[in-house]
Amino acid sequence: MEFVLISLLNGLSYGLLLFMLSSGLTLIFSMMGVLNFAHASFYMLGAYFGYQLSLWVGYWPALLIAPLIVGLLGAGIERIGLRRVRRFGHVAELLLTFGLSYLVLEFVQLSWGRAVVPYGLPSELQGPLFTIFGTQFPRSRSFVMLVALLMLGSVWLLLTRTRIGLVIQAALTHPEMAESLGHNVPLVLTGVFGGGCALAGLAGVVGGNTYVTEPAIAASLGSIIFVVVVVGGLGSLAGAFLASMLIGLLQTFAVAIDTRLFDISVSQMAPMLPYLLMVLILIFRPRGLMGTRET
C-alpha cells in the first residue's frame, strides 16, 4: 500500500514534468506544424540558467528570469532561423532544430562542463512535505506538481479566455483573415514558439534541481517526450496529458518493482518500456490515444 502510494505520487510528479515539456511541444506542433527537435534542449538551457541564476540572485528570482531568457532565445531563433526555412517545408524546420540541438549541447558543455552540476534545492523546498505510512514525500516533487498545474491552468486560461488567446487561435486557423484584420501573424507565431520554449525552460528550472542537471539530459528527455507525443496522438493536448501520466507512472513503477521477467529484472527493462508502449500503440492504434489525424 505504502509502496503503491509513494510510487503513484512520484509517478504523477514525473508525469506532470513530462507534460510541462510535451505540452509546449504539442502547442508548437499543432499551431505551427513545427516539430521542435530542440525542445528538450530548451529544457536543459532552463535548468542550467536556473542553476547559474540561483547562484547569482537566488532561486526564486531565477524561477522567473530563466524561463524568460529561454523564451526570448526561442523567439529569436524563430525570427532568424525558422521563419527563413518555412518555405522549404516542415522537414526543413525539423532539420534546423536538429542542428540547433547540437549547438545548444556544445554551448552547455562549454559553459558548465560535461559533469553533473550541483544544482541544489533552496531551503524552502528541502525536506519532506508529508509522511504517509512512514515514507516521506519530498517537497521538491510536490513543488514540481504545483508549478506544472499552475502553468497549465494559466496557459489554458490565456488561450481560451483572453483576447490574446483569441488572436492566437485566429492566427493559426485563419492566418490570412487575421492578417487582413490588422493582426501581425508572423509576430504571433514568434510568440507561440517563444512561449513554448519558455514553458520548457520553466520545466527545466523546477525539474533541474528535483532530478538532475547534466548535458545528457537533453537527449534522454528529448526522445521520451517524442514518445509521449506519439502515444498521446499528434497535436492533441489531452492526449499528451494522458500519455505523460501513463509514461510517468509506468517508468516509476517499473523502476521500483522487484520482479524478474524472462531472466531480466523489470527495473532493468524500465528504460525501454516507453518505447515498447509506443510500438504497441502504433500497431494497435496508429492515431495515438486521443489523436485525430491519421498521418
Binding site: L96, L103, S223
Partner: protein, 396 residues
C-alpha cells in the same frame, strides 16, 4: 557510363595516390560509409523519410557479421569473407522489414519521431542482452579465418580496402539502378504527393515499407563491412543516437537532392570525425553551425551548391562576384573560427590567457568580413539570379 568509369578509376587509384596507413584506413571508412549514406538517402532524399534511427540497421548488419564470422571460424564452415557483408545485409533487411512495418505507418515528422523512438528502443535492448551484443566490451572477430579465398586472406588493410571498394562500387550501382525501377519511381511519387499515389491504386505505406527494407539491406552491408574493417563492434556505439544523427547530418551536408550527394557526405563524415576532431575541440560546434547554415541557405547541400554554381563559373560569368564573396567570407570565417578557438581554449585550458590585441583584431576581422560579405552578396545575388535564368534559357 563515363561517370561510372571515372568512379571506378577513383576507387582504384585512391590507395595508390594516398599511400600512408592513415589514408588507407580513412579510405576504407569512406568506402563503407558511402554505402550507408546512400542507403540513408534512399529514405531521406528519394522517399522523404527523415529517419533518426538508421544506426539500428547498420548495427544489425555489424553484429550479424561479427556473429557469423565467429561461428564460421569456430565451426570451420566454408564461408569466404567476401560473402559476410551479404549476411549482414540480409540481417539488416530482415530487421528493417519487421520494424519498418511499424515505422512506415506514418510519414513526415511523425515518421521522424517514431524512428527516434525505435532507435532508443533497440539501443536500450542491446544493453540488456549482453549475451547477444557482447555487453560493454562488444564482440571481437578475427577476419583472417579459414584458408583465405582466391589467395586473399584479408589480413592486410589493402585487401580489406579492395573488398570495401568492390562493395562500394556494386552497391552504388545497384542503388542507382533502383532509382530507375518502378518502385524507385513510386517512391519519389510518394515523397512528393502520397495522396495521388493512393488514388492511382498504390499503397503509399507499402511503398515506404519496401523502400525501407531495401535501405535496411544496404545499411546492413555497410555495417558488416565496418565490422570487417575494425574487427570489433560494440552495442553502445553501433546503436547510439549519435551515429544515426551523424548519417542524417552528413547525408544532408553532402546533398540529399542528388544521387551522388551522399558520396560527398561520406567523405565529409570521415574527414570531420577522424581529422577535424583531432585538430579542434570545437568541431561539433562547427558541424552544427555549418549544418544550420546549409539548412537555411542551401538546402541542396554541397552537391546542390556545386550544381547551381558550376555552370555559371564554367561560362566564366560573375567571376569577380565569386571572388569578392570568397574573400570576404574567408575573412569572416577566420575571424569567427579564431574567436571560437580562443573561447574553447580559455574554457578548457587552465593556464591559457588570450592576448587582448588578438581578440580585438579577430572581432574586427569578423565584423569587417561580415559587412563586406553582406555588401558583396547584395551586389551578387540579383546578378546570380539573372545568370541562372540566362543559362537555363540558353539550355532550352
Amino acid at each position: 557510363m563515363k561517370r561510372w568509369i571515372f568512379f571506378a578509376a577513383l576507387l582504384i587509384a585512391a590507395p595508390f595516390v594516398f599511400r600512408s596507413g592513415l589514408a588507407l584506413s580513412l579510405l576504407s571508412q569512406i568506402g563503407y560509409i558511402a554505402i550507408i549514406c546512400l542507403s540513408y538517402n534512399l529514405l531521406f532524399g528519394q522517399g522523404g523519410m527523415l529517419s533518426f534511427g538508421h544506426a539500428v540497421y547498420v548495427g544489425t548488419g555489424a553484429f550479424a557479421a561479427a556473429h557469423v564470422v565467429n561461428l564460421a571460424s569456430a565451426a570451420g564452415w566454408w564461408l569466404p569473407l567476401p560473402l559476410v557483408p551479404l549476411v549482414g545485409g540480409v540481417a539488416g533487411g530482415l530487421v528493417a522489414f519487421v520494424l519498418g512495418f511499424v515505422t512506415t505507418r506514418k510519414a513526415g515528422t511523425a515518421f521522424a519521431m517514431i524512428t527516434l523512438g525505435i532507435g532508443e528502443l533497440v539501443g536500450a535492448m542491446s544493453n540488456m542482452l549482453p549475451g547477444l551484443f557482447g555487453g560493454e566490451g562488444g564482440i571481437s572477430i578475427n577476419r583472417v579465418y579459414g584458408g583465405g579465398w582466391l589467395g586473399f586472406n584479408f589480413g592486410p588493410q589493402e585487401q580489406v580496402y579492395g573488398l570495401i571498394a568492390v562493395y562500394c562500387f556494386v552497391c552504388t550501382a545497384l542503388l542507382y539502378a533502383f532509382t530507375g525501377t518502378p518502385l524507385g519511381r513510386l517512391l519519389n511519387a510518394v515523397r512528393d504527393n502520397p495522396e495521388r499515389v493512393e488514388f492511382i491504386g498504390y499503397s503509399a505505406q507499402r511503398v515506404r515499407w519496401h523502400a525501407f527494407t531495401i535501405a535496411g539491406f544496404f545499411a546492413g552491408i555497410g555495417g558488416a563491412l565496418a565490422t570487417i574493417n575494425f574487427e570489433i563492434v560494440t552495442s553502445g556505439e553501433a546503436f547510439s543516437a549519435l551515429r544515426s544523427g551523424g548519417y542524417l547530418l552528413f547525408t544532408f551536408l553532402g546533398g540529399a537532392s542528388l544521387f551522388a550527394g551522399p558520396l560527398i557526405g561520406a567523405v565529409l563524415l570521415v574527414l570531420a570525425t577522424m581529422l577535424m576532431s583531432e585538430w579542434t575541440q570545437a568541431w561539433l560546434l562547427y558541424l552544427g553551425l555549418g549544418f544550420c547554415l546549409l539548412v537555411m541557405y542551401a538546402p541542396g547541400g554541397v552537391a546542390g551548391l556545386w550544381m547551381s554554381n558550376w555552370p555559371i563559373l564554367r561560362a566564366g560569368r560573375l567571376l569577380r562576384g565569386y571572388a569578392s564573396l570568397l574573400l570576404s567570407g574567408a575573412a569572416l570565417a577566420i575571424g569567427v573560427i579564431g574567436l571560437v578557438e580562443i573561447v574553447y581554449r580559455w574554457r578548457l585550458q587552465l593556464d591559457y590567457a588570450p592576448s587582448v590585441l588578438l581578440v580585438v583584431g579577430l572581432i574586427a576581422l569578423a565584423l569587417m568580413g561580415g559587412a563586406a560579405w553582406t555588401l558583396a552578396w547584395r551586389h551578387f545575388h540579383p546578378r546570380w539570379l539573372e545568370a541562372q535564368a540566362a543559362l537555363a534559357g540558353g539550355a532550352r
